[in-house]
């Protein structure tokens, strides 16, 4: 029992150390890219933002509208006179602070986290990462940095869209369906929406993006000589990302609480 716990602790420690080393190499790649902008690196960055952000937008839009309507439906049971104001506050505390960064992260984990792991795994298996580095192009600068930064940017933007669409759809449904005065909801939102709330949601989305891409890259780069390791890398990336994102969500919420 104790030995098993020790092994688990060691594997968690190893995973965290590997991830930190990868993020550090991404940071080095970022600094190198800022010192000297290289066109192929910028192209990879834009492609990553496009594939992660633009192509996930429709999914995020549907989920955010459904979330907004679902919250309003539940809140309609509240019969207090000031329920409009309460709905506004719930949007900020629940949607903007918690649900938006988490749900957008889940969408990106499912779409891009596993895709990055599989893509890099295939490149590793085919020797393409060595081909690239044989040209004098550092992998951390061309492969890792644009993916990590690109997913971070894409998740930040997706999170902003999620918040906007969720709140707007909620407002619309509450106004049409339950005739709740929009001014009340707006007042509720304004009363609790501070810079701190925006900092929480933004920092969560950025951090989740970086973590998801870093975990995906790390899983992909661990692929060895067997093709069966590629789907395993995809699955590992999804599971690890889920665990880290949920733990990080709690930690960030606590940090901002105090």
């Amino acid at each position: 029992m104790i030995a098993a716990m020790g092994r688990t602790a060691l594997s968690v420690y190893e995973a965290i150390t590997e991830l930190m080393a990868l993020v550090l190499s991404v940071f080095r790649g970022l600094v190198a890219s800022l010192v000297r902008v290289r066109k192929p690196v910028v192209q990879v960055l834009f492609r990553q933002v496009y594939f992660t952000g633009n192509e996930a937008f429709k999914v995020v839009m549907v989920i955010s509208m459904a979330t907004g309507v679902a919250i309003i439906s539940q809140m309609s049971n509240v019969t207090d006179a000031g329920r409009g104001s309460l709905i506004g506050k719930v949007f900020v505390w629940v949607v903007i602070r918690e649900i938006a960064p988490l749900i957008t992260a889940l969408v990106v984990i499912a779409r891009s986290g596993s895709a990055i792991a599989i893509e890099l795994g295939q490149m590793k298996l085919k020797g393409e990462i060595e081909y690239l580095e044989a040209l004098g192009i550092p992998g951390e600068q061309y492969l890792l940095m644009p993916r990590v930064v690109g997913v971070g940017i894409a998740l930040f933007v997706l999170n902003a869209y999620f918040n906007l669409i969720c709140v707007l759809s909620g407002l619309l449904v509450s106004w049409i369906g339950w005739q709740i005065p929009l001014a009340q909801i707006r007042q509720g939102i304004i009363s609790v929406l501070t810079l701190k709330e925006l900092a929480i949601t933004s920092s969560k989305s950025l951090l989740f993006g970086v973590v998801i891409a870093a975990v995906g890259c790390n899983s992909g780069l661990k692929v060895g000589d067997s093709i069966t390791q590629i789907p395993q890398a995809g699955t590992r990336a999804v599971i690890q990302s889920l665990i880290i994102v949920f733990v990080a969500d709690v930690l960030i919420s606590f940090i901002f609480l105090f």
Binding site: V41, E128, E130, L135, G136, P138
Partner: protein, 213 residues
């Protein structure tokens, strides 16, 4: 100058001890493909030898730090068994990738130079196709065109003539010979000495050390 002094490494059957002077095209027949791949990795600094030393133009690859390795590797070109391309970039993007990354050259000039290089090697395939859509011959043509663009002083060729028809072998050999004419060094690695027959007679091969022709 490429120098191996009693080099042992994983996947090498016997210790390697040879040197290739500048401006020579040499062939090394290995017992297995993986041995050739290992030699390439050792030369490019992806792997360190267990014992012995390797010197490439006076530098020992395994002792270089990351930033030095990138500069070092830019001086070594490669034509690998499958061409050596990134599968999700089309052939044109693959061709210009190295120079575009290095920068300092106008896009129009780069495109012109790349087009000339493709003409020089006689490439007539679809340049905007992914590598997997092209034949092994066309991929090797583009790999040599990439050498023409980046102009490395040392070229490593892995299974260069394998999987090609006799005519294609001659065409690739001519393109490589043209490239190496002004004093470039090339090392041809193969586990199939038959693939060098006929084609190899056109080239000057180094016969010293344990190298074979």
């Amino acid at each position: 100058m490429i120098q191996f002094a009693n080099v042992t490494a994983e996947h090498l059957d016997t210790p390697l001890d040879f040197s290739i002077p500048d401006g020579v095209i040499a062939s090394l027949v290995t017992s297995r493909d993986v041995e050739g791949e290992t030699i390439v990795r050792l030369l490019l600094g992806f792997r360190a030898p267990i014992s012995g030393s390797i010197s490439v133009n006076g530098l020992e690859p395994s002792t270089l730090i990351d930033s030095q390795l990138s500069d070092f590797r830019r001086g070594i070109g490669g034509v690998y068994h499958d061409g050596g391309f990134i599968s999700n970039l089309n052939m044109w993007e693959n061709l210009i990738l190295q120079l575009a990354f290095e920068g300092g050259i106008k896009r129009s000039e780069l495109e012109e130079r790349a087009s000339v290089a493709l003409q020089q090697v006689g490439f007539d395939g679809g340049v905007h196709n992914l590598p997997s859509r092209l034949s092994i011959f066309q991929r090797k043509q583009v790999a040599i065109a990439r050498l023409l663009l980046s102009s490395p002083s040392i070229v490593l060729c892995q299974s260069l003539f394998e999987g090609l028809s006799r005519g294609e072998q001659k065409s690739i050999a001519t393109a490589l010979l043209d490239y190496c004419r002004d004093g470039k060094t090339a090392l041809l690695l193969t586990s199939n000495p038959d693939s060098l027959k006929g084609v190899a007679s056109d080239l000057t091969f180094y016969t010293g050390g344990t190298l074979q022709t």
